[in-house]
C-alpha cells in the first residue's frame, strides 16, 4: 500500500449511522458498510464508493434498525413535571405574571389581527361560480386617461357577448349617482312620506344570473327582465313590506309618480364580505339616460362583470379583447393614429372577483376597498408583538438561570438525563403558553368590540367553527415549544460540577444575546412609534392644508332635486335667514364621492387630436364660487346680470397651464358639443383626495339640483340649523331634511388614513408595553442580583446618584442602540408610505427626537423604580446574610 492516506467514507454519513443505529446492530452494519466501501474503492474508485456508502447508510435507516426513542411517556413523570412547573410559577409571581401577561397581550393582538386578515382574505368567495366570475378592467399606460378604470360604454357589454364566445354571460351595473344610483328617497306606492335610502344601482338581469344570489321571493331568471322593475334585498323588504311577499307591488322613487317601479324579486342581503353592497337593483331594461346612449361609445359609465365558460384560457382571451373592441367599435370614429395609440398603450383585462377587494388600490372604481398592503402590514405588526413577548420569555428564563442552575446540577447528580431536563423545561414553557393563551383569548374577547370600532368591521371570535379551538390548541403547543426550546437547551446544558462548585457567574452569561434581543425589541417598538407619529402628522397636514376653498361652516342639504321647482324658492328663503351667508345649488362638490363629470376640452382654434385635455366639467350656479370661498385669480366669477355668462366658463389654474394661452380671458374652448368663453381663472382647489394631483377643472352655469350648499356665519350653529330645518319644512312638509357638513364629509375622505393611524398607534402602544414589561422584569432581576455589589459599593462610599447611574446606563445603552437602528429604518419605511400621497408631510428630525425622548423616558421610568430602590437600600440588609 502506498503512503497516501486510504480513502475514507464520508464522515457525516458515518456519524449519522452511529447516531440512529441501535447499538447492538451497529457493529455488523457499519463493518459490512466499511468492507463494501473498501471493495468498491478498489473496483470503481473512491468517488463511487463514497456515494454508495451514503446510499447504504440511508437505506439501512429502517424502523428495525433505529434506536428506540428514549423518552418515556409515563403519566407520572408528566404529572411531576407540571407540578414542578406550577410551583416554580407560583413561587416567582412577578416574573411569571410578566411572562404570561406579555404573552397574553401578544396573543390577543395576533388573534384580533388574524381575524381581521381572515375577513379581508375571504371577500367575494361565496358565489357558486366564483372561479369563473370576473370584472372587466381597462388600463391605459399613456396619455390623459392613464390609469386603470372599470367604467365602460353602454354597448360594451353586448359587444363582448357578440364577439367572444368565451363569455357565457355579461352584465352591466351602473351605481353612479349621476344617474340616480347611490341614494334616493323612496316610498311605497300608497304611502305619502318618503324615506331616504342608499345603495341603489342599475343592473342587468344577467348580474343575478352570474352572481346567483339566493332569492327569497320571485323568479331569479326573470326578476329584472322587464322595464321598470326593481330587486330589493331581504332587509329592505322586511322594512317596507313586513310579513308579505312584495313581488309585484310597486314603489315610487324620487317622487316620480309617472313611473312607479315594480318589485321583481327579493334577494338575500349581500354579505358584509362582498365588494358589492347594494340594496336596490333597478333594471337597465329599456333605460337610456339620454337618447342614443345604448349605442354611444363616448361615455363610459358601466361596470361590466362577466361569467367565463369553463376552461377558458384567460391570457389568450385578454390579448384579443382590446384589438377587437377598438377595430370593430371604439375606433370607428377615431383617426388611424389614435386607433394605433389606443391599441399600443391600452389593454383590457379580467380581474377575478375575489381579487377585487384587496387588489384594486390603483383602480378607479368609486368603491372603497381594502388593501393587501395593510393586510401584510398588520400581519407583520402582530407578528412583531408576539416576537417581543417571546423574547421576554426567553430573556427572563435565561437571565434567571442562576436560580435554576442548582436545581439542574442536583438533578443531574442524582441521575437525571439531559432529555428529561429538557422535557421538564419544555413542560414548563407549555404551561406558560397555555395560561397565556387562555388569558389572551379572554383579552381578545374583551377587546373585540373596541377593535371592531377601530377597524370598522364586525368581527366575531369563531368559537363554533371546527378549526378554531384545534388551531388554538396547536398554536399553544407551537408557541410553548418555540419560546421554550432555547431556555430548555440552555438550562439543561449546565455541568453539575461547575454549578455545585458555584462557578456559574450569576445571570451574566449569555448577556450579549440577551442584549441583542432587548435591542431588537426596542427597535421594533421605536419603528412603530415613529410610524404612528408620521401617520398622525400626515393626517394633520392634510386636514389643515390650504385647500383652495372654505370647508368650515358649510352645511350641505341633500336630496333637494325632489323639491322640483321649489329648489329656487328654498334658495331664496335661505338667503333671507340671518345666519346664512350664501347659498348655492350644485351637486358638484370638492369632496371625494360627490358628483363628477369627466370631459375632454380643447382650444377651438386647434385640432382635437393631441391638444385635448381631460378635465372635470361641473355645472354650478352664480353663487358657487362665493359660497365655497374659492378665490378668483384672474377674471371674474359668474354674474347673474350677464346674460352671456351662460356661454362662459371658469377654469382652474392647472387647466390654464395646460391650455397655455398667452391671455386666457376671452379665449374659447370646446368639449365637442358646446363652445365656451373663458371668463375667469379660479385658484386650484383640491377636489379629490390628496393622494392625487389637482386635475383640470371647468365650471359652467347649469342646473344640478341634488344638493344645496349653505355657508353659515354664526356662533350659534344649533340655532342656524333649526332655522334652516324650519324653512325646509315649510317648503317640503312630506320630506325629512337631510344634511351634513362639508368639513365632516371632508374628514370622511381621510377616514382610512385615520383608521390606519389609530390601529398603528394602538398596536405601537401594545408593543412598547410588552417590551417595557420585559425590561422591567429584567432590570428588577439584575438589580436583585447585584444587591450585594451595591451594598459593598455603598459601604465604600458610593453615592446614590452614581449607583443609580450605573444601573440605568446598562439599559439605556441598549435603548440608544435601538434608537440608532430604528431611526433610519423608520424613515425609509415611512417615506415609502408617504409616496402614496401627492401632497405630503415632510418628515423632520423632531419626529425622531420625540420618539427617542419618549422611549428613553419610558425606559427610565421602567428601570428607575427598581434602580432607585436598590440604590437607596440599606447596605446592611444586603450584606447581613454573608
Amino acid at each position: 500500500m502506498s503512503t497516501a492516506k486510504p480513502p475514507r467514507p464520508p464522515r457525516w454519513a458515518d456519524r449519522f449511522l452511529e447516531w440512529y443505529c441501535r447499538p447492538e446492530l451497529l457493529e455488523e452494519i457499519q463493518g459490512d458498510a466499511y468492507e463494501l466501501f473498501d471493495v468498491r474503492c478498489a473496483e470503481k474508485g473512491p468517488k463511487t464508493a463514497r456515494r454508495a456508502f451514503v446510499w447504504d447508510v440511508l437505506r439501512s435507516f429502517r424502523l428495525s434498525t433505529i434506536r428506540k426513542i428514549t423518552l418515556q411517556f409515563s403519566p407520572d413523570m408528566y404529572k411531576s413535571n407540571f407540578k414542578i412547573a406550577w410551583r416554580n410559577m407560583a413561587k416567582h409571581k412577578m416574573y411569571s405574571s410578566i411572562k404570561i401577561g406579555g404573552f397574553a397581550i401578544g396573543i390577543a393582538a395576533c388573534l384580533l389581527i388574524a381575524l381581521f386578515i381572515l375577513d379581508e382574505l375571504n371577500y367575494d368567495r361565496h358565489y357558486p361560480e366564483t372561479g369563473r366570475i370576473y370584472r372587466v378592467v381597462a388600463e391605459m399606460t399613456d396619455g390623459e386617461f392613464a390609469g386603470k378604470g372599470v367604467d365602460f360604454p353602454a354597448p360594451f357589454a353586448k359587444a363582448l357577448k357578440d364577439e367572444f364566445p368565451e363569455f357565457e354571460k355579461v352584465a352591466r351595473i351602473n351605481p353612479n349617482s349621476l344617474f340616480t344610483g347611490g341614494g334616493n328617497p323612496i316610498r311605497r306606492a300608497e304611502a305619502t312620506q318618503n324615506t331616504y335610502e342608499e345603495g341603489f344601482t342599475f343592473a342587468d338581469q344577467e348580474l343575478l344570473d352570474i352572481l346567483q344570489i339566493p332569492m327569497v321571493y320571485g323568479d331569479p331568471k326573470h326578476a329584472l327582465d322587464e322595464p321598470n322593475t326593481i330587486v330589493i334585498t331581504k332587509r329592505k323588504a322586511d322594512k317596507y313590506f313586513p310579513n308579505e311577499n312584495p313581488v309585484g307591488k310597486t314603489i315610487i322613487a324620487n317622487n316620480n309618480t309617472d313611473e312607479p317601479v315594480k318589485i321583481g324579486g327579493v334577494i338575500a342581503d349581500f354579505p358584509p364580505n362582498s365588494h358589492l353592497q347594494f340594496d336596490f337593483l333597478i333594471t337597465m331594461k329599456g333605460v337610456e339616460f339620454y337618447p342614443g346612449e345604448g349605442n354611444n361609445w363616448n361615455a363610459s359609465n358601466y361596470h361590466t362583470y362577466v361569467l367565463l365558460r369553463p376552461g377558458t384560457d384567460i391570457v389568450k382571451l385578454e390579448q384579443k379583447l382590446m384589438p377587437v373592441i377598438v377595430d370593430k367599435y371604439l375606433g370607428i370614429n377615431l383617426s388611424k393614429a389614435e386607433v394605433d395609440r389606443v391599441k399600443r398603450t391600452g389593454r383590457i383585462y379580467l380581474q377575478a372577483v375575489p381579487d377585487i377587494h384587496l387588489h384594486s388600490a390603483d383602480i378607479h372604481d368609486g368603491m372603497s376597498h381594502g388593501d393587501i398592503r395593510f393586510v401584510w402590514l398588520f400581519g407583520a405588526i402582530a407578528g412583531f408583538i408576539l416576537l417581543i413577548a417571546g423574547i421576554n420569555f426567553i430573556n427572563l428564563s435565561t437571565a434567571r438561570s442562576a436560580n435554576r442552575a442548582k436545581e439542574v446540577g442536583l438533578r443531574k447528580t442524582v441521575g437525571s438525563t439531559r432529555e428529561y431536563l429538557i422535557a421538564q423545561f419544555l413542560s414548563e414553557s407549555l404551561l406558560f403558553s397555555a395560561f397565556s393563551f387562555l388569558l389572551g383569548l379572554i383579552l381578545a374577547w374583551l377587546l373585540l368590540p373596541y377593535f371592531n370600532q377601530l377597524s370598522g368591521k364586525s368581527l366575531q371570535l369563531p368559537w363554533l367553527s371546527w378549526w378554531f379551538l384545534p388551531s388554538i390548541a396547536v398554536s399553544t403547543i407551537l408557541v410553548g415549544l418555540l419560546a421554550g426550546v432555547y431556555p430548555a437547551f440552555y438550562l439543561s446544558s449546565f455541568k453539575p460540577i461547575n454549578v455545585l462548585k458555584g462557578n456559574l457567574s450569576k445571570g451574566s452569561k449569555n448577556s450579549s444575546l440577551r442584549s441583542a434581543l432587548v435591542v431588537f425589541q426596542f427597535t421594533t417598538s421605536i419603528v412603530l412609534i415613529i410610524g404612528t407619529l408620521v401617520v398622525t402628522r400626515q393626517m394633520n397636514y392634510i386636514l389643515n392644508k390650504k385647500l383652495g376653498f372654505e370647508k368650515d361652516q358649510v352645511m350641505l342639504l341633500q336630496g333637494t332635486q325632489t323639491l322640483g321647482d321649489k329648489t329656487q324658492t328654498l334658495k331664496k328663503q335661505l338667503q333671507q335667514l340671518p345666519a346664512v351667508d350664501a347659498v348655492t345649488i350644485s351637486d358638484y362638490l370638492p369632496i371625494k364621492g360627490a358628483k363628477r363629470n369627466g370631459n375632454t376640452v380643447w382650444d377651438v382654434k386647434k385640432e382635437q387630436d393631441g391638444n385635448s385635455f381631460g378635465t372635470q366639467f361641473w355645472q354650478v350656479d352664480y353663487d358657487y364660487i362665493h359660497t365655497l370661498g374659492m378665490k378668483m385669480i384672474q377674471g371674474r366669477a359668474f354674474i347673474e346680470a350677464m346674460r352671456s355668462d351662460s356661454q362662459g366658463v371658469i377654469i382652474n389654474q392647472s387647466l390654464a397651464k395646460k391650455l397655455n394661452f398667452a391671455q386666457p380671458l376671452g379665449e374659447r374652448i370646446t368639449n365637442g358639443r358646446q363652445t365656451f368663453n373663458i371668463i375667469g381663472i379660479v385658484e386650484d382647489f383640491h377636489f379629490e383626495s390628496m393622494r392625487e394631483n389637482i386635475e383640470g377643472m371647468c365650471l359652467v352655469l347649469g342646473n344640478s339640483p341634488n344638493m344645496v350648499a349653505v355657508k353659515l356665519h354664526s356662533d350659534n350653529l344649533q340655532k342656524a340649523v333649526q332655522d334652516i330645518s324650519a324653512t325646509w319644512k315649510s317648503i317640503a312638509p312630506s320630506q325629512p331634511i337631510r344634511y351634513t357638513f362639508l368639513d365632516d364629509s371632508f374628514a370622511q375622505m381621510y377616514s382610512d388614513v385615520k383608521r390606519i393611524g389609530r390601529i398603528c398607534s394602538n398596536f405601537a402602544m401594545l408593543a412598547i408595553i410588552v417590551a417595557c414589561l420585559g425590561l422591567f422584569a429584567l432590570s428588577t432581576y439584575l438589580a436583585e442580583q447585584r444587591s450585594k455589589e451595591i451594598g459593598i459599593r455603598k459601604v465604600l462610599g458610593a453615592s446614590v446618584g452614581s449607583i443609580l447611574g450605573m444601573l440605568l446606563q446598562n439599559f439605556l445603552k441598549l435603548v440608544l442602540i435601538a434608537l440608532v437602528i430604528a431611526a433610519p429604518l423608520a424613515w425609509y419605511l415611512m417615506q415609502e408610505w408617504l409616496k402614496d400621497f401627492a401632497y405630503r408631510y415632510q418628515i423632520r428630525w423632531d419626529v425622531f427626537v420625540l420618539a427617542g425622548v419618549a422611549v428613553v423616558l419610558i425606559s427610565i421610568l421602567t428601570i428607575g423604580f427598581h434602580a432607585l430602590r436598590s440604590a437607596l437600600s440599606n447596605p446592611l440588609d444586603a450584606l447581613r446574610s454573608e
Binding site: 457493529e27 455488523e28 452494519i29 471493495v39
Partner: protein
C-alpha cells in the same frame, strides 16, 4: 410442525447461508446473491432478511475474531439451524409435489 411462512427473498438468503457454510455474513451473502442469481440487492435488505430469519429461529449467529479489515469491526457469521434446514426441506418438498402434478412435466435430473 407449525408452518412459519418463508418469503421468497428469505428463502434465497437462507439457502445461500447454507451454501456458504460457515462463511455467511452480510457482504458475502450479498455478493453470492449477485453471482448466483444476477440480482443486485442493497446490503440493508440482506441485513433485514438475516435478522428476520434469526428471529424466526432458522439462523444462528456468532461474532468472528476482529481483524484490521473492516475498520476493526467484527463480522457476524450466520449458520443455518436445524429448524432452518427443516423449513428449506419442507419448502422444497412442497414445490416438488406441485411440480409433479403439472401434466407432461418431466423433472430434470441432475446428471452430475
Amino acid at each position: 410442525m407449525h408452518r412459519i411462512h418463508l418469503g421468497e427473498f428469505e428463502e434465497l438468503v437462507l439457502l445461500l447461508v447454507a451454501v456458504l457454510h460457515g462463511n455467511a455474513y452480510g457482504v458475502s451473502v450479498m455478493e453470492e446473491i449477485e453471482q448466483q442469481t444476477g440480482r443486485s440487492v442493497n446490503i440493508s435488505a440482506v441485513h433485514a432478511a438475516l435478522r428476520r430469519l434469526e428471529e424466526k429461529g432458522y439462523l444462528r449467529s456468532e461474532w468472528s475474531e476482529a481483524t484490521t479489515q473492516r475498520g476493526g469491526r467484527r463480522k457476524r457469521l450466520f449458520d443455518i439451524t436445524q429448524a432452518g434446514r427443516a423449513a428449506l426441506e419442507q419448502s422444497r418438498d412442497t414445490y416438488l409435489k406441485l411440480w409433479d402434478q403439472i401434466p407432461g412435466f418431466v423433472p430434470k435430473t441432475n446428471m452430475a
